[in-house]
């Protein structure tokens, strides 16, 4: 026997792990699970391990102090050899981890893997998703920059809306009365000790159940899950017709895991690390904070919900979603597994994906936010000034100076919070323009107190010129008649 073999035997006599590991590796799996659809779980685990390693490496340099965290990130980016690369790997790793966990969840849902007897595996998986999101949020806080600082403010504002306990939760979350040193310290503890510790424990439970209960077989349309017969049927698929996991199915997991690691490294190399953006200095208010990629949908949702719906949606929404996910295997623990015969399941996934995708896309360019510098930075397109009277040009000036441009675009430049005004004169008559400017309405502030009559006249004169060539501006026919009648009346003509 070789020396290595002898050393191995020496250890195994004491550890006695070789046999159980071999049993686990060679446990029979249904042959049709050796599929590329079954690689996302192991890929999520791979990225998690990558996060552990890169996270420990970052912790060698990072300082979890509100006064020094930002500088230590700068040191990682610019001074420490390959610090930028490790930061980039960790940042991209987190994006990949959230994405892979979600894909894994969708695959498991569509393949009916949450049904009997794997209910608990699914429930543990739901908590793993929540912890992954918790890691993503706390990780963004540790990148202690302007986005992190104001992001914490958003988190506190949401938490404060919980009835009765809200203020307590806020102080627990912040570690004090304001976002400061204690806040970063506790998010560091959460991100580095608490959540990873729970993640490791839950991942072990999740894997243990996959081994004990077996991997979900490829769902065949019409093969229904029944509590009474499922285990025998599964036994048939594994013990009689199955194949050992190693090496029959594992090679696809290995290939995909390596591919994902390469993809993370490629993104890290090509795109580099995330931030940090500006210093977390509350006195610098020229900032438009934005969450990381995986919370952009929430950022979008918060600007589209009607104000009265917001607090109930924020507080009840997550409870309902989590309760539904946890109860799912009890609501449909038996029956059809194949997505081919579960149209509602497929439509639900599509609907959620479209909603999340659309909100994320919208949050990419935030049409709901005023463009803070549009009034001073965006030029008025030439065609809107050409051959205009002095009054109309004065109106264009008022339009810029009064920051109308921050919310209204002209020639595709400017804010998108309000409607584009390129052809506003076609939609609104002179009277309606005056009323809209002075009284606001429809989500527009009233400018009555901030415009002199002369400014209003000039502004409306300018707005009235905003109509496409060859298309007449809107006019109030009744007003014309009234004016004529009034004129006739004054001239003493018979009515």
């Amino acid at each position: 026997m070789s020396v290595i073999g002898q050393i191995g035997q020496w250890f195994d006599k004491r550890l006695q792990l070789a046999a159980p590991i071999r049993d686990a590796a060679e446990h029979p799996v249904p042959r049709n699970t050796a599929s590329w659809f079954y690689v996302f779980g192991s890929a999520a685990l791979t990225v998690f391990l990558l996060q552990l390693v890169t996270g420990i490496l970052l912790a060698l340099i990072y300082v979890p102090s509100a006064s020094e965290a930002w500088s230590s990130l700068q040191a990682l980016n610019h001074d420490v050899t390959l610090g930028w690369f490790i930061r980039a790997m960790h940042g991209w790793g987190s994006n990949f981890m959230v994405a892979i966990v979600l894909i894994h969840m969708v695959q498991v849902f569509l393949f009916g893997a949450y049904k009997f007897p794997r209910e608990l595996t699914w429930i543990v998986g739901v908590f793993l998703l929540l912890m992954t999101l918790g890691m993503a949020f706390s990780g963004q806080v540790l990148r202690f920059d302007q986005d992190a600082y104001w992001g914490l403010g958003i988190g506190a504002s949401i938490a404060s809306r919980v009835p009765i306990a809200g203020p307590i939760i806020v102080k627990l979350m912040l570690g004090g009365p304001i976002i400061a040193g204690a806040t970063l310290s506790r998010f560091f503890a959460l991100h580095v000790f608490v959540i990873p510790g729970m993640l490791i424990g839950f991942v072990c439970l999740h894997l243990l159940m996959v081994l004990k209960l077996g991997i979900n077989e490829w769902p065949m349309p019409g093969r229904l899950v029944k509590r009474a017969t499922y285990e025998d049927e599964y036994h048939q698929l594994t013990r009689k017709e199955g194949a050992p996991f190693v090496p029959y199915a594992v090679w696809k997991d290995l290939f995909f895991a390596a591919f994902i690691l390469l993809a993370v490294a490629a993104c890290a190399l090509y795109f580099g690390p995330f931030g940090p953006t500006g210093r977390p200095d509350p006195t610098i208010i020229q900032t438009a904070p934005k969450p990381d990629y995986f919370f952009l949908w929430l950022y979008g949702l918060l600007s589209y919900l009607p104000p009265s719906m917001e607090t109930p949606a924020l507080l009840i929404g997550p409870v309902v979603v989590i309760a539904f996910l946890v109860l799912l295997p009890f609501l449909s623990g038996e029956g059809e597994k194949s997505w081919r015969r579960r149209p509602i399941a497929v439509l639900t996934v599509l609907l959620i994906a479209i909603i999340l995708g659309t909100l994320t896309h919208l949050a990419g360019y935030t049409p709901w936010s005023p463009h803070m510098n549009a009034w001073s930075g965006d030029p008025v397109p030439e065609q809107f000034l050409h051959a205009r009277t002095a009054l109309e040009r004065q109106g264009a000036l008022v339009f810029q100076v009064k920051q109308c441009r921050n919310c209204h675009s002209l020639g595709d430049l400017g804010g998108q919070r309000g409607p584009a005004l390129d052809s506003v004169a076609v939609r609104l008559t002179q009277d309606q323009l005056v009323r809209q400017v002075i009284q606001g309405g429809g989500n527009m502030p009233a400018y009555g107190k901030n415009l002199s009559p002369a400014e209003t006249t000039a502004l409306v004169a300018f707005l009235e010129t905003l109509h496409p060539h060859g298309q007449a501006p809107a006019r109030d026919a009744a007003r014309d008649i009234a004016l004529i009648e009034d004129k006739d009346h004054r001239q003493g003509a018979p009515r």
Partner: protein, 208 residues
């Protein structure tokens, strides 16, 4: 008496051992919970709040709104720049002020003042407020948070120390009344203003 119901000597010791551990755990839980909740208990009864100075009255021109910075009254050694807080100070006239929190009443983003249009605008979700802090448009459900202020020895001082959030108990200190001022109808601007002037006169404040 059957053997199953008999408590053996070792079984008794095990139970006493468990009870002993339970007692120790309970005793230790007390300091642990006190420690964990110290940030809450320390601030009970508005203990985090103090009167802080923003500068001399003369630094704030009448009719204008200026940005002011103050150091949070409660700080820890690692706070660095985060101990600083900003606020918008509006000097209405004489010694009548309005001091607004920088945080949008929607989700806490920093609002910016645009004197030309007389609006505070939030860069996050587009909340907008009039010069008197009342809600103008967008997702906020209320006006800007307002710090209680007083003028003492020629200095503008405000009662501050906590991050203003929509649900904070000190939100009542931050002017939790229904926002006064202009809404979307000219008629209601006039009527609300007069109503607000009365309320604020009672509160010792004014509203333009």
């Amino acid at each position: 008496m059957s053997n199953e119901n008999m408590l053996s000597r070792r079984g008794l010791f095990m139970k006493i051992g468990m009870l002993f551990n339970g007692l120790v755990a309970t005793a230790l839980a007390f300091p642990i919970v006190r420690f964990l909740f110290s940030s809450v208990t320390r601030g009970s009864g508005n203990a985090y709040l103090s009167w802080v100075s923003l500068g001399r009255v003369s630094e704030f021109p009448e009719g204008e709104t200026r940005l002011a910075t103050f150091r949070n009254p409660y700080v820890t050694p690692t706070d660095g720049k985060t101990a600083e807080t900003t606020c918008w100070v509006r000097r209405v006239e004489g010694e009548q002020f309005q001091v607004f929190a920088i945080n949008c009443a929607h989700l806490g983003c920093p609002v910016r003042w645009f004197p030309q249009s007389g609006l505070f605008m939030c860069p996050c979700h587009g909340g907008a407020y009039y010069r008197d802090g009342s809600r103008a448009s967008g997702p906020p459900e209320r006006g800007l948070f307002e710090y209680p202020y007083k003028v003492q020895d020629g200095m503008v001082t405000i009662q501050a120390g906590e991050l203003p959030t929509p649900g904070s108990p000190t939100a009542s200190l931050f002017g939790n009344k229904a926002p006064c001022g202009a809404r979307n109808e000219l008629v209601s601007i006039e009527s609300k203003l007069s109503a607000c002037s009365k309320t604020n006169a009672l509160l010792g404040k004014t509203n333009t």
